[in-house]
């Protein structure tokens, strides 16, 4: 982000907070319905150790889920692309995996994988898997025909080297947009998993805070989640920009 853009972002953030603060004050909303941003800030500071404890759990779940889902997605996309004959078998399965709402699976996953971190990691990776697979698969398939023709004209060209040196570099920007989606989805998966059944994590904390009318604490947890998502998104978009920069000149 350029300083200019960062400033614009900061300004819009401040004005939203100001509007929020004014609205709550003006309408005299009680804090158990909507706390002011200042109250949320206070709660952030006041509950710092508690929030840190639960954040570390959720962060780990997001990280492992993101890594697992992305890894499987990349592997699956490459396999699907490299072996056209298996596509009719697996492409519908891929769609079905997306048609099943992951939220509906959450209770099952908790039943199967337990209350601990495993079920949340699986949730997050399931939700990440599809956007990564489909983005990379499309990217691999969109390699310019002229390059494929040129590669095909070379006798003794190794299939995996063509994949590694032509298809994969071409598909990196597409993979990047898949990762951006994944970055925003992974925290959702982890939190849903925590809602369904857990004893730790920001999702668990939010449920409890909600039940005890500690809406300021809930908003504090929410804001931490937003920061996590934004940072992940930032990393993914840095990756994308790095690689699309290198190949602006594609044909």
């Amino acid at each position: 982000m350029t300083p200019h853009k960062a400033l614009a972002f900061l300004l819009s953030l401040i004005s939203i907070f100001a509007l929020w603060q004014g609205l709550v004050r003006g309408l005299k909303l009680p804090p158990y319905l909507l706390p002011t941003p200042l109250a949320v800030g206070k709660s952030l500071v006041h509950n710092a150790p508690l929030l840190a404890l639960h954040t570390s759990t959720t962060l780990q779940e997001i990280f492992y889920g993101f890594a697992l889902g992305t890894g499987c997605g990349i592997g699956f996309a490459v396999i699907l692309f490299s072996f056209p004959k298996i596509r009719p078998f697996f492409l519908p399965l891929l769609l079905i995996s997306q048609a099943l709402p992951v939220f509906a699976l959450a209770p099952l996953l908790v039943l199967w994988a337990g209350y601990g971190m495993a079920s949340k990691v699986i949730m997050a990776s399931l939700i990440v898997f599809f956007p990564v697979t489909s983005a990379l698969y499309d990217g691999l398939k969109n390699t310019p025909t002229a390059w494929i023709d040129l590669a095909n004209s070379i006798s003794g060209a190794k299939k995996w080297l063509v994949l590694w040196r032509i298809h994969l570099p071409t598909a990196l920007p597409a993979l990047g947009s898949g990762l951006k989606l994944a970055a925003t989805f992974a925290p959702i998966g982890a939190v849903i998993g925590e809602w369904v059944g857990s004893g730790k994590g920001l999702g668990y904390l939010m449920l409890h805070a909600n039940a005890r009318m500690q809406i300021d604490l809930m908003f504090a947890a929410l804001s931490i989640l937003a920061v996590i998502t934004l940072s992940l998104y930032g990393l993914a978009s840095m990756f994308t920009r790095h690689f699309s920069h290198r190949q602006q000149e594609i044909l």
């Binding site: 023709d149 040129l150 004209s153 006798s155 080297l161 040196r165 570099p169 190949q247 000149e249």
Partner: protein
């Protein structure tokens, strides 16, 4: 015409015209082989039939292409020049009965420069080597550097395509073609995207560097054909037929157009 024994019958029997190739089902039966009896001075180009699915594209015929010289293949767009070239280059999958030139004896020079934007000029010249093995040898690298020097880009070996002009990129592509060092080179409208001056420079360079190789250049520009080629073929009609042209015919074509 001496067709290799019964191969079209075999191809038909084995149902190759019903076989899906993903490229619109070309049934290609084209031979480009060193001609018998004429020593090593020419290739004979025998086309048995070429069709996309049920649509015949090229009629059967036999021609000779002089070895070690540049033959230009003229024709209006859509007549099948590029298709013919791609079949010869082994890009379209072909039934085993066909006797296309051995893939290792042919280099295909595509229409665009087709440089990989994330690779340096040097890596692009090494394209073929980099698809055959994980690492390129010291020797291959020094050959590539020499070729880059020959096309006048000695100082640009580590530049990426985005940092090069259209003419320079085409020079890199030329070096990439030379790197494969095959007796047959097939070029598909190689300089069509360049301005007049750059194109003229590249014509001279191509003639000089490809000396001794058998080159088939597809072009729709009679001027280009006259500058580059020593022999000329015109592809016309439907299904298309290749007719030899003389230099005078092309000059006449140009006068007729003007």
């Amino acid at each position: 015409m001496p067709y290799p024994e019964g191969s079209i019958v075999q191809a038909m029997l084995r149902g190759y015209n019903n076989h899906s190739y993903g490229y619109g089902d070309p049934l290609n039966l084209i031979w480009l082989t060193p001609a018998k009896g004429t020593g090593l001075s020419s290739y004979s180009l025998s086309i048995l039939a070429l069709s996309f699915g049920q649509t015949p594209v090229m009629a059967s015929q036999a021609l000779t292409i002089p070895q070690g010289e540049i033959t230009c293949l003229l024709g209006r767009s859509g007549v099948g020049k590029t298709t013919l070239l791609k079949v010869l280059a082994g890009i379209f999958p072909s039934p085993p009965e066909t006797r296309n030139p051995k893939p290792e004896t042919v280099t295909y020079h595509p229409q665009q420069d087709c440089l990989l934007p994330w690779c340096t000029a040097l890596e692009n010249v090494l394209f073929a080597a980099r698809l055959k093995a994980r690492r390129t040898t010291q020797e291959q690298q020094s050959i590539a550097l020499t070729l880059l020097a020959q096309v006048g880009l000695a100082d640009y070996a580590h530049h990426r395509p985005a940092q090069l002009s259209g003419g320079m990129r085409q020079r890199v592509a030329l070096a990439r073609t030379l790197f494969q060092d095959t007796p047959l080179v097939l070029m598909d409208e190689p300089f069509s995207a360049l301005d007049y001056t750059t194109r003229t420079e590249l014509h001279a360079l191509t003639k000089r560097l490809l000396q001794g190789k058998t080159v088939l250049v597809v072009t729709h520009d009679p001027f280009e054909a006259l500058t580059l080629g020593t022999h000329f073929l015109l592809l016309e009609g439907s299904p298309a037929v290749l007719n030899p042209l003389r230099r005078a015919d092309i000059q006449q074509m140009l006068q007729g157009a003007a």
